[in-house]
């Protein structure tokens, strides 16, 4: 079930014929937490992450994948931890490892995560994202916090298909969804059934820790 208050109707939208240019589904049951390094402790926090989760915290606009958790860079000394929703809340899980080196704040309730792909996905995103999504510039593993249609979102390129994930503020989601729908309409889109978020452990060298 979708976790936002919008009718989530799987099926085609926009141009009804041909291959849909965009396929989109929601990733549900995502656990998120902000991590903010204490003063002067960013490196210590990165080390703490490596010790407990198998990867360092990224020091630039990328994602690092740990054993069962992903860390998205959001700003200097700030990250977003992403993993599947489990029984223990993420904030408590991170609190120990980051004690004394970073503040941890649960954000699991505040965002909706979408996953997007399809032959025209870049064209759809170009209607709102000001950053250059050309495969030579923005590659798998890159993340960006940016502005789309007057909204703040986070973009995460998962692979070279390309597959993207977008985190949208929950209370603004309805507006984002309208923008996405109208932007994809000319290429045709397909809403797929929502799926549970499942962490993919690092496979290729590109995304693992150095």
């Amino acid at each position: 079930m979708a976790e936002h208050d919008l009718a989530w109707v799987p099926g085609r939208f926009g141009r009804p014929h041909g291959t849909p240019g965009l396929r989109v589904h929601e990733l549900t049951d995502v656990a998120l937490a902000s991590i903010v390094a204490r003063r002067g402790q960013a490196t210590a926090a990165a080390t703490a992450a490596e010790r407990s989760f198998g990867c360092r915290l990224p020091d630039r606009a990328r994602v690092e994948l740990g054993h069962d958790i992903a860390f998205l860079w959001v700003g200097p000394g700030q990250w977003l931890a992403v993993t599947g929703l489990a029984t223990t809340d993420l904030e408590s899980r991170l609190a120990g490892p980051f004690a004394g080196v970073a503040a941890v704040v649960d954000q699991s309730g505040g965002r909706v995560m979408l996953e997007l792909e399809g032959p025209r996905v870049r064209d759809v995103l170009a209607k709102g994202f000001s950053i250059d999504l050309d495969p030579r510039v923005f590659t798998a593993g890159r993340v960006a916090a940016t502005l789309v249609a007057h909204l703040h979102v986070q973009l995460w390129q998962v692979d070279d298909a390309p597959r993207y994930r977008i985190l949208v503020v929950r209370t603004y989601f309805a507006s984002f969804w309208r923008w996405l729908g109208s932007s994809a309409a000319e290429f045709g889109g397909e809403v797929l059934e929502s799926r549970r978020y499942v962490h993919t452990a690092p496979a290729a060298a590109t995304q693992s820790c150095p």
Binding site: A103, Q107, T171, R178
Partner: protein, 992 residues
């Protein structure tokens, strides 16, 4: 006149698909044309010459050009909600079913009553209106202005909402090539071959520019063929994007603005497709290959339909295979005229003569080069023929005069490079005296001007220049792959001498056709002291029409230079501004119109509230429940009172998630908050909440809210809904810029938490039913202003705050937002027998007024802590933002309007926000104005209207009767001033 058989269509040639016949209507009459036509060329094909009326004198006008510079042929395209006034016939791609109508005429194009203006033209000279219409003063709005307004304007605007969609997008590239003529194509090809990511945009629907219009060859192919092949090659390259129908309309910092007419060439856009799309193009390098625009010549009645630019004549002949006249005279001051004559002859037209204004020797020499062309060394002095040229008067240099019958006069006054985009970022064009033209001045870094736009007119030069620009631009971004030699083209002769005007001719000599500016207007402006080109422009309106003077600016300033005996260089040129050609507001607005004008923010309980039938209202970005009507409710009154009473006597629930929430952590969190808030926060005990205010550095109140201490090094603070973003940024400023040494971390958790006020004497009872029984919320364990973690019966974890905006025993319960709806359901399920009601903003507002709590009406950025009765919160023991400037004498002046409570003396009387206070019995004048009512509400508890207000010396005046007046709406009410707290002043209820 019109002939559906396309009588002026040449039997062969042109870039047309003659199998694709398109039907269209102009002024109600049906015609045929072909795919590949513009409306203009199709009308030429059908022998239609009269297309419009001029702005001021309503002179009959036909086509002057074949491009975006067209000043005359503006039509209303399409009908109804899709009506599009002032559309240039030369830019309309012919589609099947097209409908267009002439404009600015009544009752018809052929018989236009307002043409009488022409009779008074000797009065209607430049700026005449500044000298008259002043008496009597009252006549301006009543008589003169309505007359002027009706007469002015061109097309009729649509009145209904536009049914089409618009789109916007970003585009990134290494090299943007603006213009797809020979220069642009050569540049794009070179840059792409060098390995760059290239975008080439052209506003035309076929790329090729003048290559489509001339009988020239490039690389041994007819030039149009060459253009076609190059485009095909470019399209086949993966890193090239070819964008026809795309005008780069502006050069801005860091980006170019372009508009793509995605679906203007069809009757209406296919489903799901936008009509137009605005692109923001981020290009590391750009090549401006925008070509050049030909200038008309200035002589008597040079605006007659059938007087056409020579280059346009060639476009019509060669690209569109239509003959704009059967018998032509060519009038020129450069070599272009001669090739025009040749093209006319090839197309089977008669060329009565080429009239060349240059000296007889030059003309004789050219005559030898162009055998078979009749020539005259002289000038055309006047064109005759009301709705179309019939004959022209010619004066030879030997002062002989002739009249030559003709139906087409092709004129060429030389070419002006299309420099517009070089000027958008502030650079001014430079006058090149030797070549007698404006060329690019100090162009912004990253922009290369090439080809005709750079004054390199001959085809061979243009190709070479484009090629060079492409190579240079690519190299500048590090793409240096070897590139083959530039395409080879002819080097046609571009010699000429500028003839700015023909002297001593009768009739009107137009400089700006659309705005009816003549040579006499320029003279008058000079005589009256409007000698700066910018004054000339504004006084005569030269260059201010929809074509922005593309054909007229240079002539106008040259005439001014001549009159003032200055050089053209010293005279200067008026500023070019975006857009290069007019752009629809719809395209610039894109998706953000109607309901999508701005994003809408929905609180976690929105869907739940919608199902309960809530009435919503816009508060900033949020849509919030205002009240919850029940069957039989007429308006807001009954539901609001019901909701207030529910809270005051039982229990109510309200979604307050819109408050800003910020999680603040770190060893210095307390110290940090002490600098942010005017009062002290570091002394707050864990598990407790405190109210606080923040000032701006200028000492005025910025915001208020609460801070709850969750742990020694962790707080969660709230801000008002309106100021959430501002406060968050301010905190980052304080942290990163002012006090970076503090070890504090904070993040916004506004969206993380659904937060509901559960208020009323039975709120504890209700909460107990949803909380895990292990949570002790008894008064002893969880007193007023307590805060702490909780667990719900369903296992969710959350937080509870014992704070009260309503003044009742109340809590705010917070859970992660995804559980917000479930919590709302649970509360209403559990509270059914308690009569729990949801309450909306109206009830919330009434109750906060009853308790004297403030919102944005009071915290309006103009009030100080003293004004609001919060002076005791300004700590004297520490520095905080605003501490110093809040002490300025005027900010603590007791005479300032300060917060009071008020209620009408007559309990049935109404009061309203925005009423002003005057002393009882005093005159209702400004001198007696003592403040205003900030908030009002109907208090069901007191059964009367109550309010808050800012009254001069207010706190000293409790008990006084003051008049609250509303002269704007003609009401006034005597009110009693008193405490701001109306209900439970001791605060017993909230502590209970």
């Amino acid at each position: 006149m019109s002939d559906p058989s396309q009588s002026a269509r040449l039997a062969a040639g042109g870039l047309l698909d003659r199998n694709d016949v398109r039907r269209f209507r102009f002024d109600g009459r049906e015609f045929l044309g072909y795919a590949g036509d513009t409306l203009a060329s199709a009308l030429v094909a059908n022998g239609v010459r009269l297309l419009g009326r001029s702005f001021k004198y309503h002179r009959p006008r036909g086509l002057l050009s074949a491009g975006p510079e067209e000043p005359n042929a503006l039509v209303e395209l399409r009908t109804g909600a899709r009506r599009e006034p002032n559309t240039r016939a030369t830019g309309i791609e012919l589609y099947d079913g097209l409908e267009a109508a002439s404009q600015n005429r009544w009752p018809s194009l052929h018989f236009d009553v307002n043409a009488v203006n022409g009779l008074f033209s000797s009065i209607f000279v430049a700026g005449f209106y500044y000298k008259t219409f002043m008496w009597p003063a009252s006549f301006w709005e009543k008589v003169y202005e309505p007359l002027i307004r009706r007469a002015a304007g061109l097309g009729k605007p649509p009145l209904e909402p536009d049914p089409d969609q618009y789109d916007k997008a970003w585009l990134h590239c290494d090299v943007l090539v603006i213009g797809g003529g020979p220069t642009g194509l050569a540049a794009a090809l070179a840059a792409a071959r060098a390995g760059a990511r290239v975008v080439i945009a052209d506003e035309d629907f076929v790329l090729g520019g003048r290559a489509l219009a001339e009988r020239l060859t490039i690389d041994d192919k007819p030039s149009a063929r060459w253009a076609h092949d190059v485009v095909a090659e470019l399209r086949s390259m993966p890193d090239v994007r070819v964008m026809p129908r795309t005008t780069v309309f502006g050069a801005y910092d860091g980006m170019y603005g372009a508009v793509e007419r995605v679906n203007d060439h069809v009757a209406q856009p296919p489903d799901f497709e936008p009509r137009q799309r605005v692109w923001r193009i981020v290009a590391r390098q750009a090549v401006l290959a925008a070509g050049a625009i030909e200038r008309p010549l200035t002589f008597g009645d040079n605006d007659r339909p059938g007087v056409m630019l020579a280059g346009a004549v060639r476009s019509y002949l060669n690209r569109f295979a239509v003959r704009p006249g059967r018998r032509a005279v060519v009038f020129t001051d450069n070599d272009d005229g001669w090739s025009t004559a040749a093209d006319l002859l090839v197309a089977g037209a008669d060329v009565a003569a080429v009239v060349d204004a240059r000296n007889p020797e030059t003309v004789r020499e050219l005559a030898r080069q162009w055998p078979g062309v009749e020539s005259i060394a002289g000038v055309v002095t006047r064109a005759h023929g009301g709705h179309g040229v019939r004959e022209v008067e010619v004066r030879t240099h030997a002062r002989a005069t002739h009249r030559i019958p003709c139906d087409l006069l092709a004129t060429s006054g030389g070419w002006t490079p299309t420099l517009h985009l070089t000027s958008h970022r502030g650079a001014r064009p430079r006058f090149d005296a030797t070549r007698a033209m404006f060329v690019p001045g100090d162009v912004a870094a990253g922009l290369i001007v090439a080809g005709a736009a750079n004054g390199e007119f001959a085809l061979a030069d243009a190709l070479e220049s484009g090629h060079r620009a492409g190579v240079t631009a690519a190299a500048a971004v590090g793409c240096t792959r070897a590139v083959p030699a530039p395409p080879a083209g002819e080097r046609e002769s571009t010699r000429g001498e500028s003839l700015w005007r023909v002297r001593n001719c009768r009739g009107k000599s137009f400089v700006d056709f659309q705005n009816d500016v003549t040579t006499t207007d320029v003279e008058l402006a000079e005589r009256e002291g409007f000698r700066s080109v910018e004054h000339l422009k504004r006084y005569t309106t030269l260059g201010m029409a929809t074509d922005q003077g593309k054909t007229s600016n240079v002539t106008g300033l040259a005439l001014m230079a001549e009159r003032t005996s200055r050089s053209i260089e010293a005279t200067g040129v008026t500023a070019f501004r975006p857009p290069y050609t007019p752009v629809t507001m719809g395209a610039l607005a894109g998706h953000h119109r109607g309901r999508d004008f701005r994003p809408t923010r929905l609180p976690p309980s929105h869907a739940w509230a919608a199902r309960r039938g809530a009435v919503f209202m816009e508060t900033g970005p949020w849509l919030r429940a205002q009240w919850f009507p029940q069957v039989g409710d007429q308006d807001w009154f009954v539901p609001t009172c019901r909701e207030v009473l529910a809270v005051r006597t039982g229990v109510g629930v309200c979604d307050v998630s819109t408050l800003g929430k910020i999680d603040v952590q770190g060893p210095d969190a307390g110290a940090f908050l002490d600098r942010l808030y005017a009062n002290v926060m570091s002394s707050l005990a864990v598990g407790r909440v405190r109210y606080g205010i923040m000032l701006r550095e200028d000492g005025f109140v910025m915001d208020d809210g609460t801070a709850a201490r969750l742990a020694p090094d962790r707080f969660v603070i709230t801000t008002t809904t309106a100021h959430a973003v501002k406060v968050y940024q301010h905190m980052h400023f304080c942290h990163q810029v002012l006090w970076p040494a503090l070890d504090v971390q904070f993040v916004s958790v506004t969206d993380q938490w659904a937060q509901y006020a559960v208020a009323g004497p039975r709120s504890r009872e209700l909460l107990r039913r949803v909380l895990d029984p292990a949570c002790d919320i008894s008064n002893a364990a969880f007193p007023y202003m307590a805060a702490g973690p909780i667990a719900l019966r369903d296992g969710q974890r959350g937080r509870l705050f014992r704070i009260s905006f309503s003044g009742e025993l109340a809590y705010e319960v917070a859970v992660p937002a995804r559980g917000g709806e479930a919590l709302m359901e649970a509360l209403f399920e559990a509270g059914r027998d308690l009569g729990v009601l949801p309450y909306g903003l109206e009830a919330l507002n009434v109750m906060r007024i009853e308790k004297g709590h403030m919102t944005a009406n009071e915290l309006n950025g103009q009030t100080t802590a003293h004004d609001l009765g919060l002076e005791r919160m300004l700590s004297g023991k520490k520095d905080f933002v605003g501490a110093t400037l809040a002490r300025r004498a005027h900010l603590v002046d007791p005479a300032r309007p300060r917060l009071v409570g008020l209620r009408p003396i007559d309990p049935r009387a109404r009061i309203a926000g925005g009423m002003h206070f005057v002393p009882r019995g005093a005159e209702r004048i400004a001198a007696n104005d003592q403040g205003h009512v900030t908030s009002v509400g109907y208090s069901p508890s007191l059964q009367q209207w109550i309010g808050l207000g800012l009254l001069a010396r207010g706190p000293e005046r409790h008990g006084e009767h003051v008049l609250a007046c509303d002269p704007l709406r003609g009401t006034e009410t005597l009110v009693e001033i008193g405490s701001t707290v109306f209900v439970d002043p001791e605060g017993a209820r909230l502590r209970g």
